[in-house]
Symmetry: C2
Subunit: 351 residues, 2 copies
């Protein structure tokens, strides 16, 4: 396997049985097989059942590529995410799946790690026209992938992430409002020194949540207490260490999402920092894990289901109606207070 990519031409390893072969076996024309199996009325019942049995026996399965080519559509849509580790996407996927299923569409999932750009071309090639549409939930602000896809003529919907200057449906949380909610909660508790541990700066959720936070609590946040990393547990864990090493450590952390927040929480516990007595932590998304007893994370809830269903609706609509006019949907955020936020302790713990 360490040999360089030898260009082996893709070859059908197995001879699949075609409708023509069924036709020969049945003693009818191939078109009759097609009609019989598709339920066309112009076939005698006796012929139809005979063909059906024969097809079954021979293990006939229609070739999807041929059908797609002929029917100009596959009735399969893709959902593209950059990350499987964030459970937020699992719900999103499940609900998008449900939504498009009702319209008779199937779903495949494309995973496209942000950091591995080299895979983009392969992904794009994959899509071109075997998919009828695509929900993209992965685009960095500076990515041109969505626009390339749009140019290819594939209906797409941007979910949870947004990219400016694109004439497509966008379904996203109201990130700025969410950021404001988080900041207001901490302010009202009395925190005056807050650090923000965000995800990648190029992702819309990060940038907008941060703006909302600064809107409300800008005064409590020193510029060096704003740090960016990945949307991951590891990232939250290591960035907390960095932030707490400063001379005046903050009394509260706003994390870019719940995964980061949980990393922060783990990191704090490991360092012997008490949460929420010594340090308050708040996240975004309200993934199921956040309510687990070991975490009980305060967070800003997002309506995943609502967004997923809307995204599915938009996608189906823009597939079926060429005159569909793209719209921009924003979903409100709501604070969910659990056990990781509290007023700052009166006396700063001397260390």
């Amino acid at each position: 396997m360490d040999s360089p990519t030898t260009d082996v031409t893709p070859k059908a390893s197995i001879s699949r049985v075609t409708s023509k072969e069924v036709a020969v076996a049945a003693g009818v024309h191939q078109s009759t097989v097609s009609r019989a199996l598709r339920g066309d009325p112009g076939v005698a019942d006796s012929t139809r059942s005979m063909i059906k049995e024969l097809a079954q026996a021979l293990g006939y399965v229609p070739n999807r590529s041929a059908r797609t080519l002929r029917e100009q559509g596959s009735r399969v849509v893709g959902v593209m995410v950059d990350n499987l580790d964030n459970p937020f996407y699992h719900l999103l996927l499940a609900h998008i799946h449900r939504g498009v299923s009702e319209a008779g569409y199937s779903t495949v999932l494309l995973v496209d790690p942000l950091h591995r750009r080299a895979d983009f071309s392969r992904l794009e090639r994959l899509l071109d026209s075997s998919l009828d549409g695509l929900v993209v939930s992965t685009a960095a602000l500076d990515s041109d992938t969505p626009s390339r896809l749009v140019q290819q003529g594939i209906p797409i919907v941007l979910a949870v992430r947004s990219v400016p200057g694109l004439d497509v449906d966008i379904v996203e949380p109201d990130n700025m409002a969410a950021g404001r909610e988080a900041a207001r909660h901490l302010s009202e508790l009395g925190h005056e020194s807050i650090a923000v541990i965000m995800g990648p700066a190029v992702v819309s959720t990060s940038a907008e949540r941060l703006r909302g936070v600064l809107d409300v609590a800008g005064d409590a946040i020193a510029p060096e207490n704003i740090v960016h990393g990945q949307y991951s547990h590891d990232s939250g864990q290591s960035l907390l260490q960095r932030v707490m090493q400063r001379k005046d450590p903050p009394t509260a952390i706003i994390a870019g999402n719940d995964i980061i927040a949980i990393g922060v929480l783990d990191s704090a516990r490991r360092a012997g920092i008490r949460v929420p007595e010594d340090l308050s932590i708040i996240g975004f998304d309200d993934i199921p894990m956040s309510s687990w007893h070991s975490f009980r994370l305060t967070t800003v809830h997002q309506d995943v289901q609502g967004m997923a269903i809307q995204a599915a609706r938009c996608l189906i609509e823009s597939i079926q109606n060429p005159d569909h006019r793209p719209a921009h949907y924003r979903y409100p955020a709501s604070l969910t207070v659990r056990g990781t936020t509290a007023p700052p302790s009166a006396a700063q713990p001397p260390r």
Copy 2:
């Protein structure tokens, strides 16, 4: 807030541009366009670059279905899992993706919830021939889906789950050995009353791990202390409650996998049961989450990467070589002791 953007450019009805249209624009035959773009030597350099520019400008993208139909292969493989919530699969996926990428294949992910059988038909239809192969990591022991797929002539590999009586490649952990490891660890610590909280009984990993456990520690496990549920946090959480309500609650829990184990751990903490002092917990898989500071779960490690790479290799091999003879690979298990197991408190001096 969520007002649709009013000023929308009328969506240009997108007709996908074909190689023939490019040919007309370039003043050559369609076949020349195809050759030029595919790098066929029989095209003059000047013609080639002219066509390339034109194709670019027109936004030409080859139709995948047509190409697949013509080339008898799509160079796309699928990975089918029943569940996205188990991070174990994320690594599996990532490594399978890497493996098949090296051979020039792309990956799509099919999610097929065990409990929603109705979706099966749609999934099968989805596959038929737009995929060159499939890694199945979802089959219940009694499922006939894999055999149906085999009958359709799609090369498949079973990963991490197995189904008896199928002439395909199987790559799985040595579940019985893993079960024995877990049981031996608890026995050596002195536990004499153990409960087993497993996943669905119909899944091979569950059945086999249980058999391994009973092999070693059958005497310590009362029949009513063997329970089955889902591979989920919720399931672990609620099943622990049920198990601990009995008259003689066990001093240790063997969970079907790490997700269940963490559910058990959360449940124990919520009930005020100290872990590991009052209750030892052990899981399987060693997912990344298990090493988080909040859990520090003792578990039986599985070589995900090794299995994923082997599965990828097998799949590619059986796609490219029609005479491929299926094999059965078993990967060893190794105990990873962390903080959730200890001798039962009665046998241990107070700390």
